[in-house]
Symmetry: C2
Subunit: 424 residues, 2 copies
């Protein structure tokens, strides 16, 4: 039995068939299952291993032939860093950067069978470390790839702020004619049970099998390791620290569901069609002095006053869009009113789900009158990115455009109605 | 046809039977359905109204008799303010404070049939305006009621920060022997389709029909207006701006499900038993200088530096518990390290769901070494309240106790395991 053999492994609980992976060691046997998913099996629990097919030493050669022969679509795989580009050090358990693009492709040779993959390392940055300047670099690299005529782009990205980047790219890229899909992993690519492969494969299948164009995120649908969701770049959020299905559409539907096994794709909503003749323009500048402040009970007005020299502020309030007020928080209200007169102050909700509505209670009406801009059903992250982008690219119309749907960031579907009443 | 009549209303879409409510007007007929739920029907859509039973003028008298005769449990209903104590001004559409306790009981006479309700207005504060001092007032009033021998307490509360208050009471009240249930409403009590009644009735039934003791929240299970969930006071969060089922248990199960129609109660987990002989102690002091800072991309170290004179800080980081780092955010890391050496700095996650794990990536290990305290699976709100409480009540053991489960704030169930791997 050796790496690359196709084997049936019998444990006390189950039978599993798959290819023996190179990262197997004395304690753990890693197996790539037929659905492309890797699992680790404790050697202690293994009763029997039957090698069903020896590794074909010719596989590598065959692949090269396939690659040059077939007229496959071209996908650019741009790595920015994050868990998807990381490997685990099995002796210490720490996650290490980085797996090389070549190694990644070598680990998942199936990718090469559905497209010609051009894999390239842009950076090796954990997503929580990204700054606006990094969005600019990614946008420029996307522009380069599109000019070279690729059919789709996959961005390998850390998961922590993947939804900030997808929001930023949605505003920065204008007249995008192909799909640009951000893909991350909650477990490093070389691990048993990494979600990297299913996410990458699903994104590649989605690019090659559909005429979709636009910015989206491709991650696990649930914990079954069967399907991936294609999620809207402006209405998605990381909603779990560790689960593979951490990414959820917020106040919107997923765009599509991809089953990589049978290559079936179900669309849930309207989308922009691919058009390679479109000429991409990029507007990558973003205002640096923008922030999010999250309200909580027992705040001090000084927490808000800190932002007086900023150019824009997102207040992540409570419920329908509240800040601490009333007689015991009057100073806070005064500071926010003053701020909102000076700079664009946008209200979002720490509820995450639902729509801000500042017309219900009178203290909110006072804020509205002072110029506070309701963030509608945008996530705080999307509102933050949009505000920073508008401040540099639509300077004279920031307040007006914050409340308009420019790229799908505001869901304008009819509000849920209960009989004759408003939604609140 | 008059207020109090039981009528069948036929509209173009449906037939509805119920009691005609006093807030009906020329445009809208409000009907209390048999499940206790109120709805508003646009008069334009009404085809026919059949009065099935005229209002019995003796009803009121009968009630008084019932109240004095039966040996019913006693429930204190303490109103703090919020939508549940508000009425809508149907001419302007604005929500007005406040409905009086007497009015509320009059609107929902069914409550008086299952318990003797002592209804009392403590304050009229929208929950987003509450400060730590208000938790102290509520705690003292609870103490008063318990001394008077009540069987349970319902706190009428605004929804925006109801989960902050339930967390605070969980730490403040020691040796609580009866149930204390926070109840809110997403729609004001006098409105058709208000959720107030079902929430109040479910809480009252839960108090009278079970031997539960502790702090919890009672709100709608879903949009069916059928059941309510009893949610854990330390592991619940408002997760939607407007839906009646906005409150969700986070990283935990609901405690129980109450069906007020058939008075059936299903428990999902272990709970502390009622013991009226317990002697309540209250520890209501909380440190004022504690805050939550939510990270985002492109931050400045000055946003963190602002908190250098605070006594404690919650950092709501990304993913497993990250702050912006790497070479472009080195100043932020330096400031946080400095802060964490000086004051307790606790890491939570803006993912909301899942557990912080600071042992996975090396930049986090550096933060751990500097003293940053992992918030485990606590919500940011619960961690914030706990930290403020520990700083006043367990001064010498703050860091140690932040990582221990004191009152159910940390879920210590076995972590979800995928084969041999850790949960991340």
């Amino acid at each position: 039995m050796k790496t690359g053999d196709f084997a049936k492994v019998i444990t006390k609980d189950q039978e599993l068939s798959g290819i023996i992976m190179p990262n197997s060691n004395n304690k753990t046997l890693f197996l790539k299952l037929e659905n492309g998913y890797n699992i680790g099996i404790n050697r202690k629990n293994i009763k029997k291993i039957n090698v069903l097919n020896m590794k074909k030493e010719t596989v590598k050669k065959e692949k090269v032939e396939i690659k040059s022969k077939k007229n496959l679509p071209v996908i650019s795989l741009l790595h920015t860093g994050g868990t998807i580009s990381s490997r685990i050090d099995y002796s210490t358990g720490a996650v290490m950067p980085a797996i090389t693009p070549e190694e990644l492709i070598e680990m998942f040779p199936e990718l090469q069978e559905i497209a010609n993959i051009k894999s390239r390392l842009l950076s090796n940055i954990a997503s929580e470390d990204l700054r606006f300047g990094d969005y600019k670099i990614i946008a420029k690299e996307i522009e380069k790839e599109i000019r070279s005529g690729v059919d789709g782009i996959i961005i390998g990205h850390g998961t922590d702020t993947m939804h900030y980047t997808s929001a930023a790219l949605s505003f920065i890229l204008e007249d995008l004619g192909i799909p640009v899909i951000l893909v991350g992993a909650q477990r490093s690519s070389d691990r048993g049970s990494s979600d990297a492969f299913l996410n990458l494969l699903s994104a590649a299948i989605f690019i090659t099998k559909t005429d979709f164009s636009g910015i989206c995120i491709c991650m696990h649908e649930n914990l079954n390791d069967k399907n991936c969701l294609i999620l809207p770049g402006l209405k998605t959020r990381k909603m779990h620290t560790s689960r593979r299905d951490a990414f959820k559409a917020i106040n919107d539907d997923a765009i599509a569901l991809v089953n990589p096994e049978n290559k079936k794709i179900d669309f849930f909503k309207h989308y922009n069609k691919k058009d390679k003749s479109k000429k991409l323009k990029i507007y990558p500048d973003m205002e640096e002095k923008v922030a999010i402040i999250r309200t909580h009970t027992n705040m001090s007005e000084k927490q808000f006053e800190f932002y007086k020299d900023y150019k824009g502020l997102i207040i992540e309030g409570t419920g329908l869009g509240h800040i601490p007020g009333g007689k015991n928080n009057q100073k806070i209200v005064d500071v926010v009113k003053k701020l909102a007169k000076k700079i664009p102050v946008v209200m979002t909700s720490q509820c995450v789900f639902g729509r801000v509505n500042m017309n219900v209670y009178s203290p909110q009406k006072i804020l509205l009158d002072s110029g506070v801009i309701p963030g509608n059903d945008m996530t705080s992250e999307t509102a933050f990115i949009k505000l920073a982008w508008l401040l540099k690219n639509k300077k004279t119309k920031v307040r007006e455009l914050m409340t308009e749907n420019l790229k799908g960031e505001i869901n304008q579907r009819l509000k849920e109605r209960h009989y004759i009443e408003d939604e609140f």
